[in-house]
Structure formats: C-alpha cells, structure tokens
Symmetry: C2
Subunit: 272 residues, 2 copies
C-alpha cells in the first residue's frame, strides 16, 4: 500500500508547487533576501524528475518584473512557471465583460494596461500596501456602493506577511473591510481558491494527489492545497508562527524548518 | 390597551434619544450643516414634557468640542445630555486596568490625556478617518499580534456615514479588518451595544419601553435600540438609503422624512 503520510508520500509524487514569498525569499527593501538554502533547493528540484511550478499571491509587481527580481536573487525560475493572481483576474474580467476600478500596487498597474477601466462595474483589490489609504479605500467603497450589483474581486485573502522590517497587513484584511462596508462577499482570485490551484495542476497535467504544495501560510497554502486534494507542507520561515502547529481546523501534512529541509526529505525518499 | 405601534406609542413615551450626525446635522467642511428643521425640532422636544438625551458614536472630537460645534450650529444642547463612546471606554480601561494603544482622530486624543498609554496591552480604534493609513493600521495590528491575549475595543461599529462631500468609511470597517488580521472579536463600545444604550436610559431613570430612539442608521440606531427594548424610528436623512426599508432582519418601528416630521408626529400624538 502506498504511503500517504509525509514524507513517505514523496515517493509517489509527480510534481511540487512552491509558494514564493516566505519560502524562497523574505521581501523587504530592494529585492528582499533569499532564505538560506532555498536557491540550492530550487536547483535540486529542477535537477530531479519532479515537475515544478510556483504559485503566489504576489500582486505588487507584474509577473515579468517579479520573476526578474527572483532571478536577480539567484533563483533558476522563468515566467511560464509562475502563477500569480493578476493574469487569472484578467481572464475572469474578459469572460464576464467586467470593467474594473483598481485598488492595487502601482507596480501591478501595467498588467492591466490592455483592460478597459472606463465606467467601472466592479472593483479589484490587490496587495496595495501604502496605497491602502483612507482616501483610496473610500474611493473603492463608493464605486461598489454605487453599483446595483456590486462585485468585488480580491487577489488573495492573506491576513499579513513578513517583510524584513516586520509583519505587514495583506489584502485579505482590506477585502474584509470592504465586504463589511458594502455587505457583500468578495470573490477571491488566487490562493486558497480551488480554481486557482487547479489551473496550476492543469498546466502540469497532474491530478491533485500527485502534487505537493509547500508554503509558509497555513491557511492559504497548506489548507487551500489540501482542500483541493493535494498534500500541504508548511515551512517554519516567512510568516510561520508556532501557534500554526496547533491550529484548530488546518493541520499540515508535514512541518519543516525550511525549503532546503523539505526538498532534502523529498529527494531522500525518492532515492535521488 | 396601549397603542404600541408608531406613532401611537408616542402617547406613553417618557423620553426620546436622538442620534446626532445625519439626524441633527450633516458633517463636512468646518462644522457641517444643520439639517432643515432640526434646530426647531430639538427646541420643541425641550419645551415638551419628554426627557431628551443625545446618543452618538462620534469620536472625532472630545465631548466638549463636539457639543460646542453643535451649539455653534444653533442647537440647544449641553455636555451632560450627550453620550459618546470615549468616556464609556475610559471607564472600561480603568475597571480592567488596561493601557491602550490609540488609533483615533487627533481631535479625540485630549479625552485620553489622563489615561496611562505606556507599554499598551489593548488597542482602541475610533473613527480615525484620514489617520486610517496603511502605516497606522499596521502599527495597531502589530500591537495586537504581539499580545498574548489581544484585546481590541472599537468605538462603534458603523459601516459608513455621510459627509457633505459624500459617503465615508466608518470605524466598523477597520474593526472588521483588524478582527480578521488577528483572528479575534472586538468589543464594541458605543451603539449598538446594549450596555451603552442602557447607560443612557439609566441617566434618564427610564425603562426601555418608555423611550424612543431616532436615528439615521438602521442597524446601529434602530436595531440597537430595539434589541435593548426601545422603539426605533429611522429618518430619511444622513446615511439613510431606500434599501433600508426592505432590510431582511431589521425593521424600523417607523420611518419619517426627517427629525422635524418625527417630532411633530410625536407631539401631535401627545396633544402638545
């Protein structure tokens, strides 16, 4: 019988999905800093027979610029391997003929260059950071409250993340704020949405049970992946907090010190 | 049998409680503007045999400055008749020996002059308006997430209010944001808290069924008062929206065009 526990389950894996911020690097001033051992760990995965994708809720930069940053940090990574929420959101806008009011980071705006934003009939919020001013949040609120059927898309629903100078509030916090202000439920594009994870699995041509997600966010990485049928392993880097290991509803399949340790355990199980 | 419906119930009333912003005046540049007929309506209530109190979630100024503003607008009103959340919050801090980190409007800070704010072990948020910056919200978040037992007080839980230049997000929106970020439940001080309404009733020496609340906020004024056992009448001024009259869970005992109309109906029923 196949071992379905961690790390035994690594024997039957066909692909690995990695979160980026908090797993490969810590964001902060400039490009941020690579987490010890993570550059080498990505190299080892690429040299293995496992497929590799990167699934992120990063919305502070276009995919191109974001990947260029990771390359500068020393990671062997290319644009087609990285799945952020913005391209998925643009697909939804086209499908539903929606014109967004954007409350996103300046760095993400070019991603929406081709999108009609006149006379908006929905709002998209991303991790706008300093742009989450009272004035900007009011503006997004007024667009929503003025619509007959207000539609709010949130690029992820994270609570907070860690930068080199401390914890910072993430987009989910402002999603909850606007949900309450307008008495509506936002549609989340990005992790932990099953649709989002499924699009990554589709790209690899794998079934959920053939893939493993490794992230620092217990709810959005681990819980989201598990809800989708994958295994989920949490690293003790990034936004990890010891209380995650006693969470009442989500239990990781495994908890490891960092990505390097996770990759070594996986490859060791596979005799590589 | 006594008429318990509106406006018949006015015959047996002993006191009236008025919300301020959106009922007496619309806030905005400078002192804002009095709502048509409201100055005269307050005069009429004062000349009647009804007790009168003002119950507000106003937290942008100290009670003294706030009342002075209302007097400048032409209202016959004095400090002891006005019940805002900040003095109630200070009583709770003293009782529970808590030291707050404050995320409130600059105008409210003097109210907390006598309060020990060193090494904070709770957070108080009020309607901080422009002070609800990303940086300030992060700061409040970091205080909370660093506490073993995080305690968040919210001075009211309103969604939005109307100023002369449009709708503005209220403190409740940021309360929900911090609740989600820290996975906690805030303690609300102010409307619609039953404790808060009860303190006003105690001051009048009345039972809930002897008093009527008039406000523009269906949930916090009308719903809160009803939950406490009072009648609640909504005015079609301030933040009123036509959809309030079809709300799934809260139905006002009466809906009137403005305070002037409400007062005329009350005094008419009482033959005054």
């Amino acid at each position: 019988m196949a071992d379905t526990g961690w790390p035994g389950c690594a024997k039957s894996l066909k692909g690995v999905i990695l979160d980026l911020c908090g797993v490969l690097y810590d964001s902060g001033e400039g490009d941020g800093v690579a987490i010890t051992g993570s550059i080498e760990a990505v190299k080892k995965l690429k040299a293995s027979d496992l497929q590799l994708r990167f699934c992120t809720n990063e919305t502070q930069a276009t995919r191109d610029k974001f990947v260029a940053k990771l390359q500068r940090l020393g990671f062997d990574i290319c644009v087609s391997e990285v799945f952020p929420p913005a391209p998925a959101a643009i697909a939804v806008l086209k499908e539903r003929r929606l014109r967004p009011h954007l409350l996103v980071h300046d760095g993400l705006l070019p991603e929406f260059d081709s999108v009609d934003k006149t006379n908006p009939n929905c709002v998209i919020i991303g991790d706008a950071a300093e742009h989450f001013s009272y004035q900007n949040l009011n503006e997004a609120f007024r667009v929503l409250i003025g619509l007959e059927k207000p539609v709010l898309f949130s690029l992820g629903q994270g609570r907070y993340y860690k930068e080199t100078d401390g914890l910072k509030l993430d987009v989910g916090v402002y999603m909850k704020a606007l949900e309450y202000a307008c008495d509506l439920k936002a549609e989340v594009i990005g992790k932990p949405s099953t649709t989002f994870f499924q699009s990554v699995l589709n790209d690899m041509g794998l079934q959920p049970h053939e893939a493993l997600m490794i992230g620092d966010d217990l709810l959005n990485d681990v819980g989201g992946a598990q809800h989708c049928g994958m295994k989920g392993v949490q690293v003790r880097t990034g936004k990890y907090r010891p209380s995650d290991e006693m969470h009442p509803t989500v239990t990781a399949d495994g908890t490891v010190d960092n990505l390097a340790q996770a990759v070594d355990m996986i490859l060791n199980q596979r005799g590589q």
